[in-house]
């Protein structure tokens, strides 16, 4: 650590932009969350205290939406992490065709979620989609991929896994490249099996970057909207509706600004709690391997 006034020149641009464009609007919407404020039909802002929060917490729809979002986020990130780590290990160990795989495996991450959802709608089409063709071959024609709750949630998770496993592959590959070879040479001298090497060396040393990557994905998954919006529209009923989609319906279909602001602050609290618990669970493990 060294001291030099130039550090302010380095940090101020980022600080100003974040303060002005991210923090300041939030303060504005925090004030809105304590008001009854509608655009359609227009009603002037009126202070109502915690009424918006109270009515949300007693709304069963809020709890169902929170549950659906958590289910999609946790299941899809768990699958992404397991597959992503396996693929990253294989690529790092120079599996045949590794160069080709490296390029193709990153592609899904680069595609707009809106476009992915449009493609998924075609593939999951229950009558003329290719997946139906495959399932018909196995004897299960016309499965209700997008029109029955658990099938639809499964479809959403599949799309999430397809699109975001590449992010985990990319980050873990970068992490694997920084691991020193000498530890493995020592382990090989001791006749440690590949399995032992993984649990004894690779996994612990990759824990910090794993923790970061899973954290990012978890938080991002909670914000899911474009995929759901195009793929199921929250249906059937509201059974695949996520928090952001719920906020969209309240805010931009009903223009209920106060209620939507309160909803988003509850959403923020939920995410903060998840984040803090996550870091608290991981902290002892991270400290051990520093």
């Amino acid at each position: 650590m060294r001291n030099d006034p130039i550090k302010y020149f380095f940090i101020w641009p980022a600080l100003l932009i974040v303060l002005g464009i991210s923090i300041f609007p939030l303060i504005y919407s925090l004030t809105t969350s304590f008001m009854s404020y509608r655009l359609v039909p227009p009603s002037p802002p009126r202070f109502v205290g915690l009424d918006n929060y109270a009515s949300l917490l007693t709304n069963p729809r809020f709890w169902q939406v929170t549950w659906t979002t958590s289910l999609i986020a946790f299941v899809s990130v768990a699958i992404q992490y397991v597959i992503g780590f396996a693929v990253a290990l294989a690529l790092h160990a120079k599996v045949p065709g590794e160069r080709l795989f490296r390029v193709t495996f990153l592609l899904p991450m680069l595609i707009a979620p809106v476009a992915v959802a449009l493609i998924a709608r075609q593939i999951f089409n229950p009558t003329v989609g290719p997946l139906n063709e495959l399932m018909t071959f196995f004897g299960f024609p016309n499965l209700p991929f997008l029109t029955q709750t658990y099938w639809a949630i499964g479809a959403l998770i599949t799309v999430e896994v397809w699109q975001w496993t590449p992010f985990i592959i990319l980050m873990l590959l970068a992490g694997l490249a920084t691991l020193p070879d000498d530890v493995y040479e020592a382990a090989a001298l001791e006749n440690a099996s590949k399995w032992q090497q993984f649990w004894g060396i690779t996994f612990p040393m990759m824990l910090p970057i794993s923790a970061a990557v899973v954290f990012i994905r978890l938080i991002e998954s909670y914000k899911i909207i474009d995929t759901v919006f195009v793929l199921t529209g929250g249906g059937p009923g509201i059974s695949t509706e996520t928090l952001t989609l719920f906020a969209y319906q309240e805010g931009f279909k009903k223009f209920n600004l106060g209620y939507t602001s309160a909803l988003s602050f509850l959403f923020l609290i939920t995410i903060t709690v998840i984040g803090v618990v996550y870091l608290a669970i991981l902290k002892p493990h991270l400290a051990k391997h520093r």
Binding site: I23, F105, P113, V114, I123, D226, F252, L268, T272
Partner: protein, 342 residues
């Protein structure tokens, strides 16, 4: 041949797994490409997989697309390109600078200063807008400036309370990313409209959208670049300091070249995020600076089940990112970006 390479059976299993994932990854992309060459005849009835064998390919969807039947694709494409390239470059540059400062220099921010910023910004805005009867934008600007000044002042003087270090500042930056974008997008829309009433047009302008995207990308850039910078050996920089090289020269001349792979990876992720971003573009643009995802999403509701034209539209949004990935992976492979680390 590295010590960590696989051999024998495990190599074969790894290959089988990778091949399976390869097919899973590529099939949807293959499907959207062939569907864009179908017509209504080859979509109904059953799924058709192989062009020329299963169905007769047609250029209908593409002719309609470039013929302008489906809206202004060219303008939207150019707007999307300009906005995402410039915001990705700026976010990576600004974020890398901040991350470097946070890794190498000590910062001390008093918690009290942060609280002062929050309270003054909130109270100043409410006072200005409701008591003094200023326009909302004027109240916002006044409150923002005042809050910034007062918090800087508080940070100078002796006040009780905890002092935040570098890790806390990084956590603060990264935590911006946790906020649900839907409320940020709408609050920003309201803020921009208020500023617009003062005569500075922000909605549907290049500046407004790019600023929003930079702010939206900074947390992730800082998080990623912090890890890359922290992994760099500090000895090289210390040697340069002994020779009295100024800090900014150390940054541009030594640190940036050494961390090029990290910078490129971060740039690529930021670019993809911005190019594909939906919510901010939806609320902050309406015509001139509308981006591709908005236009593509519109196809779904406008065209019903005309899968061929929807596929062509989706491909326009997909292809540039694929081309970029191909170019960047070439650069990576050629070792051009490996720099001084090896």
């Amino acid at each position: 041949m590295s010590i960590r390479n696989l051999n024998g059976r495990s190599r074969a299993w790894a290959l089988i797994g990778c091949l399976f994932w390869f097919l899973f990854t590529l099939f949807p992309i293959y499907w959207v490409i062939i569907t864009s060459f179908k017509t209504s005849l080859s979509v109904v009835g059953q799924a058709r997989f192989i062009p020329f064998v299963d169905f007769e390919p047609s250029l209908l969807a593409w002719q309609e697309l470039f013929g302008g039947v489906r809206g202004e694709f060219m303008n939207t494409f150019i707007a999307s390109t300009i906005v995402s390239l410039s915001s990705a470059v700026l976010a990576t540059a600004i974020g890398a600078m901040a991350a470097y400062a946070l890794v190498r220099f000590p910062f001390r921010v008093k918690l009290a200063a942060g609280l002062v910023f929050f309270v003054v910004a909130l109270g100043g805005y409410l006072l200005g807008a409701n008591v003094f009867g200023w326009s909302r934008a004027t109240a916002m600007f006044a409150a923002f400036g005042l809050a910034l000044l007062l918090s800087l002042l508080v940070n100078r003087v002796r006040v009780p309370g905890p002092i935040l270090g570098n890790d806390d500042i990084i956590f603060w930056f990264v935590s911006q990313r946790m906020f649900p974008p839907i409320v940020a997008a709408f609050a920003l829309f309201l803020m921009y409209s208020e500023i617009g009433r003062l005569g500075f047009k922000m909605i549907d302008t290049y500046v407004g959208l790019t600023l929003a995207y930079i702010a939206f990308s900074l947390p992730i850039v800082i998080w990623l670049m912090r890890d890359f910078f922290a992994a760099l050996p500090v000895e090289v920089e210390e040697a340069a300091m002994v020779d009295n090289v100024p800090s900014w020269r150390i940054f541009t001349g030594i640190v940036v070249p050494m961390s090029t792979p990290g910078l490129v990876a971060t740039f690529m992720i930021t670019l993809a995020f911005v190019w594909n971003e939906f919510l901010f573009a939806l609320f902050l643009t309406n015509a001139r600076w509308q981006t591709l995802p908005i236009l593509v999403a519109g196809q779904n509701s406008q065209r019903g089940d005309e899968w061929w034209s929807i596929s062509a539209a989706a491909l326009i949004a997909i292809v540039p990112m694929m081309v970029m990935a191909a170019i960047l992976s070439r650069l990576m492979r050629s070792g051009l970006l490996l720099g001084a680390i090896k």
